[in-house]
């Protein structure tokens, strides 16, 4: 405590300097007088008495200095001094300051902006009270011999209903454990007919999250215990305002969700939108699952992964205790299924909390952060280079300070303070820009990541993490660009500098040139990485725009509806489908109608596995269930065998058609017709082989794919494809009316098949645009770096060039001399950059999931030779141009002027 008291007084001492000075002077003066009087009394002469007293005191100024050091805080004083001096220097060079601050602000701003979004998605805790006490629980499992059978919804790490109950009932580490099933789509019936996205939630949902509904109440035990006893729902504030006009009397009244009447018992507080990135518009008890999703019984299926778990930790319980406590329960569950081994993982409760999602997010975010980090690095190199050039002008100042006795460390500190000031200004400017633009950037990124989906609910307001990130980045930036010049310029040769001679006269220009060359090499390397990445992405984009997906998209329309959710059973679904087929086929302008369980290039492909008799392994395949008209409608040619017959289609006969590549892969060099494959213990005969078509994944047709007939059991999940050209082809309006005539309460999506390409092309287009902008920026910044280096080299070698020319060197020799010196670092940087990008491209393409990387490269190799030849060539041309312009000055050197120079 005494130390703090002293520190405080010393801090205060900083501001009362004058009074302190007077007091010390007075005290020391009185000390001297007392001593002198004593000495006189002892019989010394006046001079002797004064001399002896001064000796004993050890010098008045020295004593004052000692007291001064103690009365204030010297460290702080020096810092303030440095800051004052630094500010003065920056204001004296407004041009330098503006260029440096703006360049760096751009870099820091972009970095902070990207981080803000990552932070909102995966670091910021859920906006609920005491969110730090919340933990998400996820599981991975394997079996000692054989594979685990799970029916996965949304996520493999989710839990089944019975597993949730085991954890909720038996754990002793949580005050409560909630379960939720996200992304439940429901049609709100009645006058506000619209699709809603919501969640099913356990009874304790609002209690565990400590988010009591703003109006009404949450769920009661009775409403959750028995299935469908009394259906209730809590609405989000947004839906309540938009669909029900914020009418409080809605409480207690029934609304219709997926044709099930449910009673509104509560309205969630504004701003609360669930625990997933996609906002929830309603919450219904888990037990309502069978009513909201007809035909599925997830509650009774112990192998169904559909529930995310979030627990509120008991006070004083550690993360390890949680894992241990839950592990016991997991072991009990494992015993029911011998050989199964479950591993639990816990994480803090953020919007993206599932491990795989976080991994994908952080990898993608990491790539982007890396790219903008490169820009910042290039900017740093330029500012560094500027500082080095300026250091030449400050040699004399530095030398004077060194001669006056300043230590080198003190000088470095002074120079670093200046750099940090520049960085801080840039950091503040950049952060302000990024905070303002984060929301806009978010919308932009969202349109890349998930166009046409529900808007994401990310909070991108700056918080402590973001501020800390911005500050840390700023400090690192300041030190990165400031340290080298500070070390460099504080090592002045005293005598040379004091004599006013500069290194132009040839003392030791090597090391300084070396530093700047190294900076340029680093810039070129960073720039090369970005340019190559942009080159690869542009090639991918070109491929995406020109690719032939292998099927017809023109004039094909797809109709989708959710019969399952709308409460249809197999019979009614089949009746509806049959009537629809007839009515649509009868519409004017319709050429053909086909049924398919998956619309080409849509995101709704299903996966199954099959085995081949006589072989061991199970083969995973994406599949589509299609009617015989599907292939002719989409112009997918049958190359061997035959199409399904109508009879096979009506009965759902065990036949299958494979694409060429799949057939070739499974039976290389053999005729696949007549071979069989076994799916769910039924043997399917291969009756036909069709041309490859990229129906599930644009740019990739190497995956195993299969077509099954759209039999009677599948009718409930089928969509319709309609082809029709000409002026009287049916419009979306006509098609919707046709469906509405049969079932007015069925919500229908009508899309043009060609529009399905957009989600595939748009991300590539936007990401290519983004990377093109980044790399142009990098190119401009690097060109400035090269330009600066060459100008500098020329200005320092004017005299030498003059002598060479006087001795008979012609302009060409001089040009080559200068260019060679400039282009060496460029070449080294280029080679480094190419190697670096090749390594990165390889790492990214092997670690990122295929459906992310594939959406940008579309089958282009990450080491695509076209990009790797053209881009370095282009960069080299720019570098030569950037060095040629200042190098021309060298050719115009007049030997006479040069020799008299200085």
């Amino acid at each position: 405590m005494r130390h703090f008291r002293a520190l405080f007084i010393r801090l205060a001492g900083l501001f009362r300097k004058d009074r302190h000075e007077q007091e010390i002077a007075a005290e020391l003066e009185s000390h001297l007088q007392l001593h002198i009087e004593d000495n006189l009394r002892a019989g010394m002469t006046a001079t002797e008495a004064r001399r002896e007293a001064l000796i004993k005191l050890g010098g008045i100024e020295q004593a004052k200095e000692m007291v001064r050091e103690r009365s204030g805080l010297p460290v702080l004083e020096v810092l303030l001094q440095d800051l004052r001096f630094g500010l003065r220097m920056l204001m004296n060079n407004p041009g330098f300051t503006a260029v440096a601050v703006l360049t760096l602000a751009l870099g820091i701003g972009m970095n902070t902006g990207i981080f803000t979004i990552l932070n909102g998605a995966a670091v910021r805790l859920l906006p609920v009270p005491h969110a730090e006490q919340l933990l998400t629980v996820s599981q991975t499992y394997r079996k000692l011999n054989g594979s685990i059978q799970r029916n996965v919804r949304e996520n493999a790490s989710f839990f089944s209903y019975s597993e949730y109950h085991a954890y909720q009932d038996q754990n002793r580490v949580f005050t409560g454990l909630l379960a939720y099933a996200p992304f439940v789509e429901a049609t709100l019936g009645g006058e506000h007919l619209q699709k809603l996205q919501g969640a099913l939630a356990s009874c304790n949902y609002f209690d565990v999250l400590e988010v009591p509904p703003a109006l009404g109440r949450g769920f009661t035990e009775a409403e959750c215990s028995a299935a469908n006893s009394s259906p209730v729902v809590v609405l989000s504030d947004t839906v309540w305002r938009n669909a029900f006009g914020a009418d409080p009397s809605i409480l207690g009244k029934p609304i219709v969700l997926n044709r099930t009447p449910v009673i509104v018992v509560g309205i969630a507080p504004p701003g609360f939108e669930g625990s997933e990135p996609v906002p929830s518009q309603f919450w219904a008890p888990l037990t309502l699952q069978t009513s909201l999703m007809r035909g599925q019984d997830r509650l009774g299926d112990d192998k169904q992964s559909w529930l995310g778990l979030v627990g509120r930790i008991k006070p004083g319980v550690s993360a390890n205790q949680v894992l241990a406590g839950l592990g016991v329960i997991a072991a009990q569950i494992d015993q029911l299924d011998p050989g199964r081994i479950t591993t639990l993982a816990i994480g803090s409760a953020t919007l993206f909390s599932v491990p795989e999602e976080r991994f994908a997010l952080f990898s993608a975010g990491g790539v982007v952060l890396f790219a903008v980090g490169m820009i910042l690095l290039i900017a740093c190199a330029n500012v560094s280079s500027l500082l080095l050039a300026r250091a030449a002008g400050r040699r004399k100042e530095v030398a004077v300070r060194l001669a006056m006795g300043a230590s080198r460390w003190r000088l470095i500190r002074q120079l670093l303070t200046e750099s940090l000031l520049v960085a801080l200004l840039a950091g503040m400017l950049g952060s302000l820009i990024s905070f303002w633009s984060a929301a806009g950037l978010m919308h932009f990124l969202q349109s890349i990541v998930s166009p046409g989906y529900w808007p994401m609910a990310l909070n991108v307001a700056p918080d402590l993490h973001v501020l800390a990130y911005a500050l840390g980045l700023t400090l690192i930036t300041g030190i990165t660009f400031g340290l080298v010049p500070a070390l460099q310029s504080s090592r002045a040769d005293l005598t040379l500098a004091m004599k006013g001679e500069s290194a132009e006269s040839g003392a030791k220009p090597r090391s300084k040139n070396f530093m700047r060359s190294a900076l340029v090499a680093a810039q070129v390397a960073a720039c090369m990485v970005l340019l190559l990445a942009a080159g690869l992405l542009l090639r991918g984009l070109h491929r995406a725009n020109t690719i032939d997906p292998g099927f017809r998209m023109k004039n094909v329309t797809a109709i989708s509806f959710d019969l399952n959710g709308a409460g249809y059973n197999d019979q009614r679904a089949e009746a509806l489908q049959r009537q629809l087929l007839e009515r649509i086929a009868a519409l004017p302008g319709v050429d053909a109608v086909a049924q398919a369980s998956a619309v080409p290039l849509d995101d709704n492909h299903s996966v199954t596995d099959f085995s081949i008799p006589g072989r061991q392994d199970h083969i995973l395949t994406e599949y589509n269930q299609v009617s015989p008209t599907f292939f002719p409608l989409l112009d997918i040619r049958i190359v061997r065998g035959r199409n399904f017959t109508d009879a096979e289609n009506h009965t759902g006969a065990p036949v299958v058609i494979l694409p060429q590549s799949t057939a070739r892969r499974l039976w290389p060099g053999q005729d696949p017709i007549g071979k069989t494959l076994v799916r769910a213990s039924i043997s399917y005969e291969i009756v036909g082989v069709v041309k490859d078509a990229q129906v599930s994944f644009l740019g990739g047709s190497d995956e195993v794919y299969s077509y099954f007939p759209a039999g009677p059991k599948e009718q409930i999940g089928l969509r319709l494809l309609i082809s029709g050209a000409g002026a009287n082809a049916p419009t979306a309006q006509t098609l919707s009316t046709t469906v509405a005539a049969l079932d007015p309460e069925l919500a229908v999506d009508v899309v043009n098949l060609a529009d399905n390409l957009k989600p595939w092309r748009t991300p590539g287009r936007i990401v290519s645009a983004l990377s093109a902008i980044l790399s142009v920026l990098a190119l401009v910044l690097s060109s400035i770096g090269v330009f600066g280096l060459v100008s500098y080299v020329v200005s320092r070698r004017v005299r030498e060039i003059g002598i060479r020319m006087a001795l008979g060197a012609d302009k060409r020799d001089v040009l080559i001399l200068v260019l060679r010196q400039a282009l060496r670092p460029v070449a080294i940087g280029a080679i480094l950059g190419i190697a670096c990008c090749a390594a990165l491209a390889w790492i990214v393409s092997t670690t990122l999931p295929k459906d992310i990387s594939g959406r940008f490269l579309y089958g282009i190799s990450p080491l695509d030779p076209v990009s790797f030849l053209l881009v370095p060539g282009f960069l080299l041309c720019v570098a030569i141009l950037a060095s040629y312009l200042p190098a021309r000055r060298a050719m115009r050197v007049d030997p006479m002027v040069a020799l008299r120079y200085e």
């Binding site: 005290e27 007392l34 004593d38 009365s71």
Partner: protein, 114 residues
């Protein structure tokens, strides 16, 4: 001056506190003289080093100061012990005695070595 010992870092504060306890309020010159005399002229106090030490003690609240007049009518800054200072003096003196006692036992020709 050759034989005189410099004052150890840290012990000067203890000496100042003890002096003020023994003599009551005193100015800087008086404290310096007293320390020199008490040590039997074995210690060479550079009077200048006394002032930062006094300032430190004052900042820590162990002593307080005020301007007064000396016996021969000269203005001087007088220091006196505060309550916290008295307590600190007790504590430090005890610790110091303990330390010296321990060291003395080590340095004395012990029975073990005999």
């Amino acid at each position: 001056m050759g034989d005189k010992k410099d004052v150890w870092q840290g012990t000067l504060a203890l000496m100042v506190l003890k002096t003020l306890q023994a003599l009551g309020p005193l100015h800087g010159y008086g404290i310096a003289r007293r320390i020199e005399q008490t040590s039997g002229d074995l210690l060479a106090v550079n009077y200048g080093t006394l002032y930062p030490a006094l300032l430190k003690l004052e900042q820590e609240g162990y002593i307080s100061s005020e301007w007064g007049t000396s016996d021969n009518n000269r203005k001087a800054k007088y220091y006196k012990l505060t309550r916290a200072g008295r307590k600190q003096l007790d504590k430090e003196a005890r610790e110091w005695e303990q330390t010296t006692e321990i060291l003395a036992r080590f340095l004395a020709p012990g029975k073990e070595s005999a």
